[in-house]
């Protein structure tokens, strides 16, 4: 029983990081109706920022977090102008393909730079022991940092002018444009934020597990699941969805072989898409 509880708690901790990753994706969708299929490689780049900061530059690992956020933001804005701007208003397939094109390019460059070998950045963090179970320090810190960053996002969206503009554009772009909001700038800003969130979630994940250039893909799929669970365009929902997914994984791990868990996740994903298009949580609210 305690073992299951421990597994669940650990799942929730990791889930918070999933939620953070999904928040990036859901924010972009909510604001501009674009699914960022470069999400996975961006997470991967965040992972490698940790590697560069900690191993190549020898700095304390968690210093990578602000680095990823800053670089991620500017990278995201650049990506917006390269691949997304011209796709706004065009059929959804176009933005799916353009962001996927970026996905291919990033993976290609990443493979050229780092090959597909596994990388690991050992992070020393004292764990917490309880009832004979040790919760890894990095997991706790990652969850805490995810919560903090999510809180920062909340502040951005609800306590700043730019956040208000983002929410206005997400709600009704034409009306926002008519009110004098420079919607294109808002879109590029929002995209930058979304990419920064995805990147930093990668940095956090890299403190937990080893990774390769191709690792981002799994987390992209998980982000899809979480985004759909939480309701598209709903960052709070994404965080809850991430925790829920972590919970599902935590519950499932003691009972089924690891390779079965993705089946449960994808099954849930497709089911959710069909049955609860507005997300599990808004359906439960009613």
């Amino acid at each position: 029983m305690v073992g299951i509880l421990a597994s669940v708690i650990d799942g929730v901790l990791v889930g918070a990081v999933y939620g953070l990753a999904a928040m990036g994706m859901t924010l972009i969708w909510g604001v501009m109706n674009v699914f960022n299929l470069a999400h996975g490689p961006i997470i991967m780049l965040g992972m490698f920022v940790l590697y560069l900061v900690a191993t190549a530059f020898g700095l304390p690992p968690y210093a990578a977090i602000p680095a990823t956020i800053i670089f991620g933001f500017f990278f995201g804005v650049a990506l917006y102008w390269i691949a997304v701007h011209r796709m706004i208003g065009r059929p959804e397939l176009m933005s799916l393909l353009s962001t996927f094109a970026v996905n291919l390019i990033l993976i290609g460059l990443g493979t050229a730079l780092w090959t597909t070998s596994p990388y690991n950045v050992p992070v020393e963090m004292p764990g917490v022991t309880w009832q004979g179970y040790t919760f890894t320090g990095t997991h706790i810190v990652a969850a805490a940092l995810a919560a903090v960053i999510a809180g920062l996002l909340y502040l951005l969206l609800y306590r700043t002018r730019i956040g208000k503009a983002i929410r206005a554009v997400a709600n009704n772009r034409e009306a926002a444009e008519l009110s004098g909001i420079p919607t294109t700038q808002v879109l590029s800003f929002a995209f930058g934020v979304g990419v920064a969130l995805a990147g930093v979630s990668g940095t956090l994940i890299a403190t937990l597990f080893p990774f390769t250039v191709l690792s981002g893909e799994i987390y992209q799929l998980k982000s899809f699941v979480v985004t759909v669970l939480g309701g598209l365009g709903n960052p709070a929902g994404a965080l809850m969805g991430g925790i829920a997914l972590g919970l599902v994984e935590g519950l499932a791990t003691p009972f089924m072989p690891v390779s079965w868990i993705p089946i449960v996740e994808f099954g849930l994903f497709v089911l959710c898409l069909i049955a609860f298009p507005r997300g599990l949580f808004s359906a439960l609210k009613r």
Binding site: N33, F35, I82, A83, R86, M87, R90, P91, E92, L93, M94, L96, L97, S98, F100, A101, V102, N103, L104, I105, L106, I107, G108, L109, T111, A112, E217, L221, F224, V225, V228, P257, S259, W260, P262, I263, F266, G267, F269, V270, L273, I274, P277
Partner: protein
């Protein structure tokens, strides 16, 4: 349909395609053409759903992979003759597609695309855990499976011909559908689904039918292809990368046309073959593919044929 010129052109081209490696007895050419033919099959059938009905099937590779698995299992474990096994795979996958389709085709746009990714990933995972199908290692075909076809060498030629046949069938089917009432309804759905429904097009039925139909030939091709390869494993069978490359091929050649996807597939596959062999480029294959895709989507979304149609409008009539 045989009263028009176009189908004859397709049939003759396919005949030449089939005979060329025979005449030159060039095994390497045959292999290269076979791979291109497989991609043409994937792209043409995908085009039915993307180009005609406007639904983006990101997970289209699942038909190919599942068809391959069913065929190899029937041949290896139950000693079925390969053609029958491939047909059974095709029928099974089409039936499954109909069932799944009825569920996920209720979704629009990006949601549908995501759902197809989910379905592909779920099935890939299921197969990875399915011991009777070799789990994560997959199925290895016993060498004597090729005996009924006259041994491995002869079998390779037979498979080649069969696949070229499937390729011709795919193109002819695309043409027939496009010029039928069914096709008109599908294209109306692709243009504006709500308007099509108000006009009387039975949208749920048509979507499910084309989704299911688009699974048949790729599934059969999968059976034959993996039979030829002698092995099948989950990673290669359900590769999302390949699935999306199929979309790129459709876009490159011209989504919604008959030969566009085939052209796109052929060009892409041939240039990829060249790039892969040039050692310096192998890392950058993805970068090039990605850049190409970005260029197409940004500047020429109508693909090759779209470009031609725009600058020479008369070609719209005969160059489908």
């Amino acid at each position: 349909m045989w009263r028009r010129a176009f189908p004859w052109v397709i049939a003759s081209a396919a005949l030449l395609y089939a005979l060329f490696p025979y005449v030159t007895n060039d095994v390497q050419l045959r292999e290269s053409l076979l791979l291109a033919a497989v991609y043409i099959i994937l792209a043409s059938n995908l085009n039915l759903v993307i180009g005609y009905a406007g639904y983006v099937n990101f997970g289209n590779i699942v038909f190919f992979g599942l068809g391959g698995y069913i065929c190899l299992y029937l041949v290896n474990d139950l000693q079925w003759p390969v053609i029958l096994a491939a047909l059974a795979g095709a029928a099974g996958v089409s039936a499954l597609a109909l069932v799944f389709g009825l569920g996920i085709l209720r979704l629009r746009g990006a949601f549908f695309a995501l759902a197809t990714i989910g379905v592909n990933a779920a099935i890939a995972q299921l197969v990875t855990n399915f011991e009777p199908w070799g789990g994560a290692t997959g199925i290895y075909l016993a060498i004597d499976a090729y005996e009924p076809l006259g041994g491995p060498m002869q079998a390779l030629w037979t498979i080649y011909l069969l696949i070229v046949g499937l390729m011709a069938a795919s193109l002819l089917a695309s043409y027939a559908i496009r010029n039928s009432k069914f096709g008109l309804g599908l294209i109306a759905i692709g243009e504006n689904e709500n308007a099509a429904a108000v006009l009387g097009v039975p949208t749920p039925l048509y979507k499910a039918l084309i989704y299911s139909a688009s699974a048949f030939l790729p599934a059969m091709a999968g059976g034959l292809y993996f039979f030829k390869s002698g092995i099948i494993e989950p990673g290669g069978a359900f590769s999302l990368r390949t699935s999306i490359e199929a979309i790129v091929m459709v876009m490159l050649g011209g989504s919604g046309t008959v030969i566009g996807p085939a052209l796109g597939a052929f060009l892409y596959e041939e240039s990829r073959g060249y790039l892969l062999t040039a050692e310096a480029f192998s890392h950058f294959q993805l970068v090039i593919a990605g850049t190409l895709l970005l260029m197409i989507v940004t500047f020429v979304p109508g693909g090759l044929l779209g470009f031609v149609h725009r600058w020479w409008p008369r070609t719209r009539r005969w160059l489908e």
